[in-house]
């Protein structure tokens, strides 16, 4: 019997598990996939928004600003790549200049600090590669870029180190009310719990509907992106947004924490039937063309031939227009419809959710006397020469570079393989230590990582996956091989 079961381990589930792990509660996280952070968390703009966008008074407005502050603190404590580079909303017309004025005022109401309106000259000094047709911008210095999946993994891992249990490959199929709480049925078995937190992302409505009358609907939207080579990573210094207009929301161009450039997203409605089919996160030639054209409006010299990967993510847009944080049934909390700025807000959503649960339980959860609240991570490339040699002298696998593009060593890959939530796939390794993230996209290091991972997990290379369940890499041994 668990005290709390969290359904879903994207950024919201992970932040919730992390917060719950500070309390004297027996907590379980159920995740449908074979790893954490496999939904919207791994395919988004990787931005911690300042908070001038949401409607004042909305949950989004409140939790965005709170979440951004908490996220900054968490990234520092848990060794998550974070860089507060600030954002610019660029205006290209008189109407858009008026619009950024509105955004400025909205931001002030939402409690966003240090906002400033820049004229053309000031803007072009900050961003010399910006289109000469840009007339001014709203500058939000508190906006930051982050590694979203690393953030999620760090939170989930810390929760696990604080004795939260996680059960991967558990897809929830039924929820029943019991005397003491709920019985949750998955493809793997049944779990009893007093309380439930629904953090199931695009499926949060499905989960809600297993226990309560439908009162919201997720209307998933796909956003397509380009990820460009590091050669393009310094074309801008800030997150560059366009103004939302009648034609569309515009696309952003932003450096990433790894030094690449991310360009996107557009917004396309997708069919519910397409969820989890692979079609939901596909790229389309029209979508990519659209993103490319819009991005060139901000940066006419943008070289999209330096693309190293296209991807797309699915946002849990919803019928309500705000985050849906509610008690669906007694002791059953929905943290649902978490669209942008969900990544930013997640740490605050988690706290908000637990407060709702305490209110529902009629008691305050007791904190543990001691819990882990830090995470060390060796990133070889970021060490000084002396530190590099110190780490190699204690563990020589740090002297063997496996991923040339990103300078990731065997030591980092083995450490990732042994992490508290062990990965079973090449992409799981990539998410934990960045091997394969670079311009050759794992062409060089892929076979070597397969070998290391098979060795660490004591598995045949034939059983190592690319990503999700059934995403096998190798079909069979060759004639006379193995």
């Amino acid at each position: 019997m668990y005290d709390v079961i969290v359904i879903g381990c994207g950024i919201v589930g992970a932040a919730t598990a992390y917060e719950l792990s500070k309390f004297q509660l027996k907590t379980l996280v159920l995740e449908a996939e074979n790893d954490v952070s496999l939904g919207a968390t791994r395919a988004n703009s990787a931005i911690l928004h300042a908070g001038f966008d949401p409607e004042p008074g909305s949950l989004m407005a409140k939790l965005n600003v709170e979440g951004a502050e908490r996220a900054k603190e968490l990234c520092q404590k848990l060794s998550v790549h974070y860089n507060q580079i600030g954002s610019l909303v660029v205006a290209f017309s008189d109407e858009e200049l008026a619009l950024i004025q509105d955004l400025y005022e909205r931001g002030v109401k939402n409690g966003v600090k240090d906002l400033a309106l820049l004229d053309r000259e000031a803007l072009h000094i900050m961003e010399p590669n910006l289109s000469s047709e840009s007339l001014g911008a709203l500058h939000a210095p508190t906006a930051a870029i982050v590694n979203p999946w690393e953030f999620c993994i760090a939170l989930a891992e810390t929760a696990v180190r604080n004795d939260v249990e996680i059960a991967l490959r558990n897809r929830v199929s039924a929820i029943n009310k019991t005397d003491k709480g709920y019985k949750i049925t998955t493809n793997k078995g049944n779990y009893q719990t007093r309380f439930v937190i629904n953090a199931a992302g695009v499926h949060s409505d499905d989960i809600h509907n297993l226990i309560a009358e439908p009162n919201f609907e997720i209307t998933p939207k796909r956003g397509e992106y380009y990820l460009l080579d590091k050669s393009e990573g310094t074309i801008v210094n800030h997150v560059i947004f366009q103004c939302p207009s009648s034609v569309g929301k515009g696309v952003l161009v932003s450096p990433t924490v790894h030094g690449n450039l991310v360009v996107g997203p557009n917004s396309e409605a997708i069919q519910r039937d397409d969820l989890d089919s692979g079609r939901d996160t596909r790229n389309t030639s029209e979508g990519l063309k659209n993103v490319a054209e819009l991005a060139k409006k901000s940066l006419p010299t943008l070289n999209l031939r330096q693309s190293i990967r296209n991807f797309s993510g699915v946002r849990a847009n919803n019928s309500v227009g705000d985050f849906i944080l509610q008690e669906a049934a007694p002791g059953f909390i929905d943290l649902a419809g978490i669209k942008s700025p969900g990544l930013t807000s997640a740490p605050a959503i988690a706290v908000y959710g637990i407060e709702m649960l305490e209110k529902s339980a009629g008691s305050i959860f007791l904190q543990k006397e001691k819990y882990i609240d830090s995470r060390e991570k060796i990133v070889f490339e970021e060490l000084s020469l002396e530190e590099k040699n110190a780490v190699i002298s204690t563990n020589d696998t740090y002297g063997r570079v496996i991923c040339r593009c990103e300078t990731i060593t065997e030591g980092e890959i083995r450490t990732a393989a042994q992490s508290p939530i062990p990965p079973v796939s090449l992409d799981g390794i990539k998410r934990r230590c960045n091997a394969g993230m670079g311009r050759c996209q794992g062409g060089f290091c892929g076979p070597r990582v397969v070998e290391i991972l098979a060795d660490e997990l004591n598995m045949s290379p034939l059983d190592i996956l690319q990503d999700r369940e059934d995403s096998y890499i190798l079909a069979e041994a060759t004639k006379g091989g193995h």
Binding site: G278, R279, R309, K388, N389, R400, C440, P461, A475, T478
Partner: protein, 420 residues
């Protein structure tokens, strides 16, 4: 302080190091990232190597072994399993390995022989879902030939580059069903002999002017949509064919691996994606030479060897003779139908009687002539019966022709000639 450091222990690095040694340089270090010498040849277990250089037919590992044996007879030092992380303009080489940790080595001269890497799905932006089962041909070749695993059973190959063609045959021999090789251009990017021996002999269709317009599949490739393209490489609607398959191999181009060249501030040629080189394979920084696929992508290893011997010998001259570098040079321009020329610059003073230029064209020619022009005037021409983009062309330039250049610029053009 070394006399010469060679970065890369593949065919280019081995030949360059050996040539420099033969010329009298004794203090040489080869740095190789893999656990053995030979580079990509180690996974090229097919034959066809060495026809020009050794006048016999060898497999890739055999070809590499000849040079490895030669190197082992010398006092050339080799560091294996060692990554070069950075090279600075003043020839400091940052390396890391398990035994020595992170070190900064110094040298009088350098040869860059890092080879090339494959273009990926991301670089060409194939639409569709992103399941497992999409490999670059070279990665698949490593899995099959080095690791002993077949990457799939029903295969579509995109691009008709040589590795893709070789893998079409290899996968077939391993029992996989290769459904088609799809090429966006109206001609193949690979060697004619590979089209014949790897596709035709196994009845694998080559679909020219076609491309993959969608990849389908949830966790592993399930289907591929192939469409015809017009002369502007735009998809022709209504020509879609659907193939049920589990694997896509990409053979869509190779890119010289020049991250270290960029760090060292070598001037690069945007057409080859490699450093520009002079007639003796010296780069824009005196004492740094480059050869093999890091300069431009070759079709045949034999030509890599020849070019690398030139680079190694030149590095030896630089180290041993301490000549003053000439300041006068000719620029070689890419004229009509020529996509690139290597070397890009020629210093006449460094040439004895003649020099060689290597180039590629952008379309298929039957009867044609190669023109050497300066200021619009034709200085020399050479007839050719067949020139294709997939095969590198070579032309010899005598000093007599170079003497006729007046404005410091030379242009290589190719034009069709009508059959008499």
């Amino acid at each position: 302080m070394y006399e010469l450091i060679v970065i890369g222990g593949g065919p280019a690095g081995l030949a360059a190091a050996f040539a420099a040694y033969e010329k009298g340089v004794k203090d040489i270090l080869i740095i190789e990232r893999d656990q053995k010498l030979g580079g990509i040849l180690n996974q090229c277990i097919h034959n066809g190597f060495g026809l020009h250089y050794f006048k016999e037919e060898l497999t890739g590992p055999e070809y590499a072994a000849r040079f490895i044996d030669m190197i082992q007879q010398t006092t050339i030092n080799v560091l294996l399993d060692t990554m070069v992380l950075e090279v600075t303009e003043n020839k400091e080489v940052h390396i890391v390995n398990k035994e020595q940790g992170y070190q900064i080595l110094k040298t009088k001269a350098l040869v860059f022989a890092m080879g090339c890497r494959e273009r990926t799905r991301g670089a060409i932006g194939i639409p569709g879902s992103r399941p497992a089962g999409v490999f670059t041909a070279g990665t698949a070749q490593r899995y099959v030939n080095m690791e002993g695993y077949l990457v799939g059973k029903k295969v579509i190959i995109l691009g008709s580059g040589d590795i893709g063609l070789i893998m079409a045959r290899r996968m077939t021999l391993e029992g996989a069903d290769v459904l088609a090789c799809v090429e966006v251009m109206p001609y193949s990017g690979g060697l004619t002999r590979n089209i014949v021996q790897c596709l035709d002999d196994y009845k694998i269709p080559l679909l020219l002017s076609h491309t993959i317009t969608e990849i389908r599949g949830k966790n592993r490739v399930e289907q591929v949509v192939v469409s015809e393209v017009d002369e502007n490489r735009q998809t022709v609607m209504g020509t879609e064919q659907i193939f049920d398959c589990d694997t896509i191999l990409l053979s869509v181009g190779l890119i010289p691996e020049n991250e270290l060249s960029r760090d060292a501030n070598l001037e690069l040629d945007s057409k080859t994606n490699g450093p520009f080189v002079y007639e003796n394979m010296e780069t824009s920084i005196p004492g740094i030479f480059a050869c093999g696929n890091v300069v431009h992508v070759h079709d045949l290893v034999d030509f890599v060897t020849a070019e690398s011997i030139k680079a190694g010998s030149s590095a030896a001259s630089y180290i041993l003779e301490q000549e003053n570098e000439p300041t006068q040079f000719l620029n070689i321009k890419n004229g009509d139908h020529v996509t690139y020329v290597v070397p890009q610059k020629i210093r006449e003073e460094k040439i004895d009687r003649r020099t060689e230029l290597f180039f590629r064209v952008n379309k298929v020619f039957d009867d044609s002539q190669i023109l050497i022009k300066s200021q619009g005037e034709i200085l020399a021409k050479q007839k050719k019966s067949y020139i294709v983009p997939g095969e590198m062309e070579k032309i010899k330039l005598s000093k007599k022709v170079l003497d006729k250049v007046t404005n410091g610029e030379l242009e290589i053009c190719v034009e069709e000639v009508s059959r008499v």
